[in-house]
Symmetry: C2
Subunit: 632 residues, 2 copies
Amino acid sequence: MRQIHISSYRPAGFAEKYQRLVADTVIPYQYDILRDAVPGAEESHAIKNFINAGRALRGEDTGDGFRGMVFQDSDAAKWLEAAAYSLAVFPSDELEREADAFIDVIAAAQDEDGYLDTRFTIKDREKRWTDLLEAHELYCMGHMMEAAAAYFEATGKRKLLDVMTKCALHIYRHFVEEGRDGYSGHPEVELALVRMYRATEERKLLELAKHFVDVRGREPYYFEREARERDWEVWGNDASDREYQQSHAPVREQQDAVGHAVRAMYLYSGMADVAAETGDAELSAACRRLWESVTQKRMYVTGGVGSTVHGEAFTVDYDLPSDTAYAETCASVGLIFFAMRMLEREHDGEYADVMERAFYNTVLAGMSLDGKRFFYVNPLECVPGISGAAATERHVLCERPGWFACACCPPNAARLIASLGKYAYGETHDTAFCNMFLAGEVEFANGVSLECSTGYPYGFEVRYDVRSGGRIAVRIPGWSRNKFTVELNGQEYVCEPEKGYVYIDAEDGDRITVTLDDAPRYVYASPKVPALSGKIAVERGPLVYCFEGADNGGDVLSLSLRRGGRLRAEKFDPNMLGGTAVISAEALRTADPGALYTSEEPERTPVTARAVPYYTWANRGVNQMRVWMPAE
Amino acid sequence: MRQIHISSYRPAGFAEKYQRLVADTVIPYQYDILRDAVPGAEESHAIKNFINAGRALRGEDTGDGFRGMVFQDSDAAKWLEAAAYSLAVFPSDELEREADAFIDVIAAAQDEDGYLDTRFTIKDREKRWTDLLEAHELYCMGHMMEAAAAYFEATGKRKLLDVMTKCALHIYRHFVEEGRDGYSGHPEVELALVRMYRATEERKLLELAKHFVDVRGREPYYFEREARERDWEVWGNDASDREYQQSHAPVREQQDAVGHAVRAMYLYSGMADVAAETGDAELSAACRRLWESVTQKRMYVTGGVGSTVHGEAFTVDYDLPSDTAYAETCASVGLIFFAMRMLEREHDGEYADVMERAFYNTVLAGMSLDGKRFFYVNPLECVPGISGAAATERHVLCERPGWFACACCPPNAARLIASLGKYAYGETHDTAFCNMFLAGEVEFANGVSLECSTGYPYGFEVRYDVRSGGRIAVRIPGWSRNKFTVELNGQEYVCEPEKGYVYIDAEDGDRITVTLDDAPRYVYASPKVPALSGKIAVERGPLVYCFEGADNGGDVLSLSLRRGGRLRAEKFDPNMLGGTAVISAEALRTADPGALYTSEEPERTPVTARAVPYYTWANRGVNQMRVWMPAE
């Protein structure tokens, strides 16, 4: 039975801190960006675009017209979606008023026939649906559908849901009823349509999602024909680069995760959604195959995916360089979407392990601790002087910049963080699933309710006070499989995890206490990964650690870790990096012989190296950082 | 006193093998390429271009006109130069006849005013000297000047020398007398003019070389103005990318080796030539500064330079990735040119150490053992499946291809190998310098003559039988500074090297025996090089070794070397890889745990790893290769 997410969640602990940061800092700041109220920031024009599109529809002067990227609408949609999630955990009249007002503006920008995209409403009406490769119409509409469903779920208000249902039915008419060819260059609408279907029960929306999944990659190849038939383009992307947009083969035949990593994650998520709703075993098998390709051969230890800047894309198996990594924040957000859908399909902790890996490492690293600055690119090594400077590393920054003209990552991280409860907790009709260890109060639709108390990811005792009983599944993470205990009301509860979950039938008032392995550990990469030969990394709980210059005398490059050396987790320090626990490791410091090459073995001195969680890096100015360390 | 190279050299041993390969295989093959007589090879058209240019000058039909790269003439020039050197060591009536006939064709392609470039003689006369950024006229003429001087030195025949003197004086008129602005986007003519000056004693040629060196990088910036003033271009190179063509500052102010690596090496060589002839201390200091930048911060252990494919260029200090390396064969040829000129200026073995490093490793690796296939790009690591396939490694090949459309490297390697005696042996009026250990007979112009017998680079005893006595300087390489002996007529000759050379006053009939350190050794890189943290390499004598799959069960990635473990040089095997000595090393093989990441320490088994010289790699099909190995 598919796991669903209709629980309500009131956060506490680590999740609350991040959700508050999003509510108090990120969402307001992003709203100001969208309405061009941040002095000095690059103009967004996103809200003005909707206003101007409404004017265009009413035959009024469109003022300063459309500005920004062709996918500018999606920034607004992602903000609205994040706002919806945030309202669900922290009700705010002010935010809800802003959102309602914006929804009015959006509704006014919808064409009579249901079409909704400001770029082609303000100008170039005749170009609608003629550049599916680059014009991002289905992508933008997809994001607005997600926002609509989220806002409906959070507030019960149907206005945007109705707008986007009308929009989806317009798409249905165009592509299904009128039989026009094509599918989106940037997947997103597929998963969004399934979500809309679940909110509205309008079967045409599921049918449309399935249609887009089915026609992708079929011969004759759509994008090349489309390119031949039009006399304009957005950037001039190569229509024949089939892997870039995952259309090199029908999706059921795709073997490896390829192309633009965000597109891949969104497509695979949509495929998994369609498979879940239709019971399509072949599609389901393709999802599993692609999942294995991603997570067993093409994923960084931080949960980053897409190892090259060229096309922000997957490359080949085991090509996971630390220094030239791309590992876009959005791609890890997308990996979490994909993982959640795989987990819905099959209750296996493996999927939640990857969700945590991507969330606690790459997604959190995408944002500064104060919520004001953002990384797109999440390298596993940063060397000031080379990173950002060498020709192959121009894309790698040593510090998070503020807002980007292409602002995909910040609102993507925001909507994920704000909705984290939906990933942490899921349910079937008879079981409440605790997939991630998020402190807070949870009420499941199946009747179970509980309060989770934990200092996770820094505390490893997780307590569930069961208010309303039922069957509860608690995930035992892969890294704790060999060392954990479960207690029920203070008594050892003997159990063997089934596919990563322990199942407990709890009564009202029961207390379940799960104690996970709190020991820091070394991580070893497959010897098939050339960039990681002879290297080890350090993890504790779900956190990947890194070594920064700030904690290591400014120089990380000359450090090696002692293989088998003791790792010691220091006490949680609430004042360090927003609250963290340093890990110290036995290491050797190699003296600099001065020469570029020498045959005199350089002197090596035992030292203690100090590591901090990867998500906290680059919050103390420009300095060296390394996840994978030479080991001896 | 400047070291000069007017000795005659008859090769034996290792040098003879390579010089014969060039004479018997490379030069004839390249000649066939130039005259389009190799079925299936990409058309060169180089000789036809000269024929057609002659027709154009005589007002005849130019047939199939000009074809090939804008610098196609230089392929012919480099071949002719290589042929000249080869004739000096292996006289050949047939080759000399071919060369003479070709020189007649070249002479007929020279315009009345001295201009000689087939591209702008066959067509577009009005475009002469209007695209110094890209059109390579000065570059092609420079190469033909080098060929002219070499052919004159080898054969005493003046025809091409006179042609190129007339050409050089045409350039002098245009740029000096008529005062036209500009200098070559691709340096080469500077060093060629000094060489022509030395052959002809025409001072205007030196003056012209100095002029081009002096005006480079001055404000107002030439290339941007030139680009604005013309309405055509070759490839559309960015005229404002000043570093690419080393014109970001006047040369005397340049601090770091930057831009296209071959251009840099040729420029620095020309600068050193001008400094040597003019005694310009400031220019000399700039050469030393740039030398240090190259060799102390930006050079691979193989003597490769230019670490990125982007612009085939230098990047930043200590950015020396093994896998994405560019390290063009031509750039190492150029580094040897530069090193030789630094050595002429200052008798310091450091320069010859670099010459050997570049020659025995990158230059030789540029060519297959049979002399028929060539690498442009010389990576220090090759992993089939990733190299050539991953987006950042598309330029990296696992096997040498045949001939290229852009055929710069093969003839460049050929002319260097064919003239190796000039690098190995030099002289001042009172001293004979043995810079590299090349077996063979040498007669110096200062009266000294000797025969060198050695199995170098596989034998470490070097015997000099002095036929005609005098002061002899023998280099003691940096890697042998702590362990070497010198004997004079069987008696220990106690001496301390001065700047890397021991000086011996030898009588007729003396025998000098130098015994160098034959032990394989580990090499350590500066901890400032991020790509080499925790890694070591293996060298013996001048040879850098590498680990290939072919000798290590197909899998090099899972091997680590034991730090301090014993290295054993096996007996020279004349049947292996054209004759080589394998080095075996204590190593650990890491078992593949199957998972991409694991916290279970993978099993590691002691094994013996086998290394072969880097220059022999990729002669046994596609397989893994690694120079720098993890060490523990």
